[in-house]
């Protein structure tokens, strides 16, 4: 059975089905991270004191730049397909995947340092919410990298048979990836700078 409206817009919504689906999914993700941000505010308001200077701002700034760069390479991967340039698509999506790895490697160094210093979630409320928020975000990065790797590798065969549908898939994967970047844009000042 063919999946309907993978290329042409659905007459009711005006968008192809996967785009409507990913936006609804992202709406649920907003609520998930929103609940955790609310938890953070409640914990911080209720805390008699809040630690400062426990995290490495320089590493987090580099990581912010890495994720922002991965966002433009992701959108360039989609734009390359729109211009029917499959070679550039693979280059840009490959870079996006590598930048995702780069983000996780930097996060690994941060986590390793905290573990060595005994700064674990049980130490205080700050590290509990820090590991929860960044850990959940990290899982989202891994999820995005798995999807992007599939699209870069075996999933890209679709370009030969259904190029418009494949381009829509990359747009949907990109929407998710940009959302992951967007979440980090708020996590960075909230956890590292304030």
């Amino acid at each position: 059975m063919d999946i309907p409206y993978t290329v042409t817009p659905h007459p009711e919504t005006g968008v192809f089905n996967a785009k409507a689906g990913i936006w609804l999914f992202l709406a649920s993700e907003v609520m998930l991270f929103g609940a955790l941000f609310t938890t953070y505010i409640l914990l911080r308001i209720g805390a008699p004191e809040w630690p400062h200077g426990e995290l490495d701002v320089a590493l987090a700034t580099v990581n912010t730049a890495v994720l922002i760069t991965s966002s433009i390479t992701m959108v360039m991967a989609w734009a390359s397909l729109m211009m029917k340039s499959f070679g550039k698509f693979r280059l840009y999506l490959g870079l996006t995947i590598l930048l995702g790895f780069g983000f996780l490697i930097i996060k690994y160094f941060e986590y390793s340092h905290h573990i060595r210093m005994g700064d674990l979630p049980g130490k205080n409320t700050f590290f509990a919410i820090y590991f929860t928020l960044t850990g959940l975000h990290g899982l989202h990065v891994i999820g995005g990298m798995i999807v992007n790797s599939y699209m870069w590798g075996p999933g890209s065969k679709m370009w030969k048979t259904e190029p418009a549908r494949f381009t829509n898939r990359i747009e949907v994967a990109g929407l998710y990836w940009h959302f992951v970047d967007l979440v980090w844009i708020f996590l960075f000042p909230v956890l590292y700078l304030l």
């Binding site: 919504t13 409507a20 709406a27 907003v30 409640l42 700034t61 922002i68 734009a79 960075f188 304030l194």
Partner: protein, 104 residues
């Protein structure tokens, strides 16, 4: 923007590059302002304002929300309403004397 419309997409690419440079600049500005050690309410307001500007740029241009269909806007407006309700919960907690009195 149609599939294969190279000229239209090239214009968009120029916008993406501009947004990218702006995002990097705003990140550096956020870090620089944090080193000024402003008082806490002002520091929170400035940092969240810059984050909101950066988030809007990502959503508007990289996620194409600036030219999206009504159904997507409708879903997101509903999300914003619920998100705002969620974010206002700490205010209710903070002003509720019954909860404060019952905390051991």
């Amino acid at each position: 923007m149609d599939f294969g419309d190279t000229q239209a997409i090239k214009k968009h690419v120029r916008v993406y590059v501009t947004v990218f440079i702006t995002l990097l600049a705003l990140t550096l500005i956020t870090v620089a302002i944090s080193r000024l050690h402003l008082n806490v309410p002002l520091a929170i307001a400035v940092a969240l304002f810059i984050a909101a500007v950066k988030g809007s740029l990502v959503a508007s241009y990289f996620m194409h929300l600036i030219s999206e269909k009504k159904v997507i806007y409708a879903a997101l407006i509903l999300t914003v309403v619920f998100f705002a309700a969620l974010m206002s919960l700490p205010l209710f907690h903070h002003s509720n004397p019954i909860i404060e009195h019952n905390v051991p």
